[in-house]
Symmetry: C2
Subunit: 233 residues, 2 copies
């Protein structure tokens, strides 16, 4: 029934948003003499939102938005060494070890015996490749697609490229906006595995009823049995 | 004879390195009270070199390296507003119009009537997509590959993905290191179209004789007749 099962990476296979939250906390500490934690939070979100169309996703753009936030909230008083600390936060994020979520390794090893698997993820090209390469499971994925956006059009283009019928495609991810809604809209199946911490710019409200091609699971470990059930139907 | 003709983008289809040079000149002006132009040049190259493995290619990483250069050479005295100017340089680069080199449009339109064409380029994902989309010729390319590095291994993987025989593959680009040497090494054909201005980190010396699958042209306009000659041989 499925010719390809695709996975989001950040916050689906390994934690990501919590690392951004940790870094934002360090930024709030660093800027405490210039602004309140809440002002840093709001100003950073505003900068990220306004920069997204020019920087795209990923840590490098996030870092430039952090620096802009620091300059703005300090009214230009931020020092060179403080800016260097922000760049240090980024470099740390860009070199962290990848810790897979519980059950990811077993589940992927189980699925790969029956299905071709791929990754479809956003973010900085090199950073996503680095994380995948460090994950220890990269050999399980036949194709890796690092894309600049995850909308219906991009999914369609990826499926056309590999000649995959949307009705025989299953996407698994933590983001309703990026992994579920566009995939269901183009006729694919999607399994949503929510995370507790979500990026505010990646949130969306579902309009109308949930499609019968949209499933929710609490944990990736439940995916093989859901797929088995779908195939048997 | 060729199942796919692939093009590098930056400095092959449109200018790029000259934009970096312009920005570096603006940086040298900005930092003139802290350091000589030559010191800025050398420090920036050193930062770019040491950051390449963590930031990868593209304007966002270049910008972070410029900021580090400014902080280092000013001994931390750089002001917030000066850092903001550097970010402004980046935003300008990320929104410049794309001006194709002379003859690119005609040559691409001619070749696409006989061959499938693709782009293989490094850089920031979103920025490269933006430039291609603004170029007016993106519909001519069947596949777009934005990669984190251009070495023999990456070319092999791209060709495997599309099931292309290296001996029936031709790459066209301005960089010996990225577009020519790795392609020839894996058995493909490569056409080098040198540019006057090259990035020092993208330079390489050819060791030994030039392969008989490596060609040099002064201008892209000469490509169709070279291909015709190769196919007739």
């Amino acid at each position: 029934m499925f010719d390809m099962i695709a996975f989001d990476a950040d916050d689906t296979l390994w934690p990501s948003e919590t690392l951004y939250v940790d870094t934002k906390n360090q930024l709030k500490d660093l800027l405490s003499r210039y602004a309140s934690r809440e002002d840093v939070e709001q100003e950073l979100i505003a900068r990220e939102r306004s920069n997204l169309s020019i920087y795209g996703y990923g840590i490098k753009g996030f870092t430039l938005s952090m620096i802009e936030t620091a300059i703005g909230l300090s009214k230009g008083k931020i020092t060179g060494n403080e800016v260097l600390k922000i760049i240090g936060f980024a470099k740390k994020m860009l070199s962290l070890e990848v810790d897979l979520f519980e059950h990811v390794e077993d589940t992927i090893y189980e699925l790969v015996t029956s299905y071709p698997l791929m990754i479809i993820t956003k973010g900085d090209l090199l950073d996503q490749e680095r994380k995948l390469s460090n994950s220890g499971i990269s050999d399980c994925f036949q194709f890796i697609e690092i894309v600049s956006e995850k909308n219906e059009d991009i999914y369609k283009r990826v499926l056309e490229k590999y000649d995959i019928d949307p009705g025989r495609f299953l996407m698994v991810g933590n983001s309703l906006k990026s992994d579920i809604v566009p995939v269901v809209a183009m006729g694919g199946f999607a399994v949503h595995i929510p995370t507790e911490v979500n990026w505010v710019l990646d949130e969306v409200q579902l309009s109308g009823d949930r499609s019968d091609r949209h499933f929710e699971l609490e944990n990736l470990v439940l995916l093989p049995s859901l797929i088995e059930r779908l195939v048997d139907e």
